[in-house]
Amino acid sequence: MPTIVVEVMPKAELLDPQGKAVAGALGRLGKTRFTSVRLGKRFEITVDGHVDDAVLAEVQELADSVLSNSVIEDVVGIHVLEAPAGETH
């Protein structure tokens, strides 16, 4: 069955304490090349049936209304996951 990926990130202008904590840990490991980290979410949604424009529109709607909160987050990507080799639809 096909899988749709939805990616959500905290809004760029907001402080991201989780990303900051990870960046701090990288700094303590001496990884000074990496100056900042921002941390978001990835949803993998399995679809019963095949993916058409109507399904993608429905996922977009869910991404905006349920999977993210537009006050604090942005939906930064929605795409269909490539099927693993050998799997047929």
Partner: protein, 232 residues
């Protein structure tokens, strides 16, 4: 006078809220998230806790619970609704209140007796306070940073919808030191600190008079009872 307290999977402070309601002089009514029934209550409390383990976003999954359809309907028709901590997060997720709550700016959970200033003493839940009155009630959260767009903040401030503001220290990075807000009508109030934990001498915050003697939180509950008696 009957005030409902909704229990969600992961609610923690529903029993404390019910106790506060009883001490204030009303009858607490236990409501269940999975039902579509408010059992004829006169007002509602969405209690603190970690509904659904804070998965997705704090309060987000709870805001989609069956009973929230009735809560939203009641709130929009004027029923007093108080959201405490996780309940505040639910009210923002349900779009009954504006803005949102994000992880504390310092990254840590915080638990302290918090000074607040009551900015709006006209809401259904704060009528018993004097405007500008300073109170102390417990605060305990990991994601209590209040944020909103610049336009929303300006509107909340301009319409006197900031109900309580942190004083002394801003414990979580909330914009404009905002601890709690209301809707335009003043019947829906959400705040991060916990009035239900400061309602009984011996179990509240320390005061200058005696250890654990602080009961500033009870006024939220007596205020709504008084308001409903007046409007009855």
């Amino acid at each position: 006078m009957r005030i409902g307290v909704v229990t969600f999977p992961g609610s923690l402070d529903d029993r404390d809220a019910a106790r506060a309601i009883r001490l204030a002089g009303a009858e607490p009514v236990a409501l269940w998230h999975g039902e579509h029934d408010l059992h004829g209550v006169d007002a509602l409390v969405l209690p603190g806790g970690f509904s659904y383990g804070d998965y997705l976003r704090c309060g987000a999954i709870a805001s989609l619970s069956p009973i929230m359809a009735e809560v939203i309907g009641a709130a929009n028709s004027g029923m007093p609704v108080l959201g405490i901590c996780n309940g505040f997060q639910m009210l923002t997720e349900a779009h009954l209140l504006e803005g949102g709550l994000i992880r504390n700016d310092h990254g840590s959970f915080i638990c302290r007796d918090q000074g607040l200033r009551v900015e709006n003493a006209l809401t259904d839940w704060t009528g018993g306070f004097a405007a500008g009155q300073e109170i102390t009630i417990p605060l305990k959260n990991g994601e209590g940073g209040f944020i909103a767009s610049a336009e929303t903040l300006e509107r909340l401030e301009g319409e006197d919808r900031v109900v309580v503001r942190y004083v002394g220290v801003n414990p979580n990075g909330s914009l404009n030191d905002i601890a709690g807000i209301s809707n335009a009508r003043g019947n829906v109030v959400g705040l991060m600190p916990h009035p239900e934990h400061a309602v009984e001498p011996g179990f509240g915050p320390d005061t200058a008079d005696a250890m654990r003697s602080g009961t500033d939180g009870i006024t939220f509950f007596t205020s709504v009872i008084e308001r409903m008696l007046v409007s009855a």
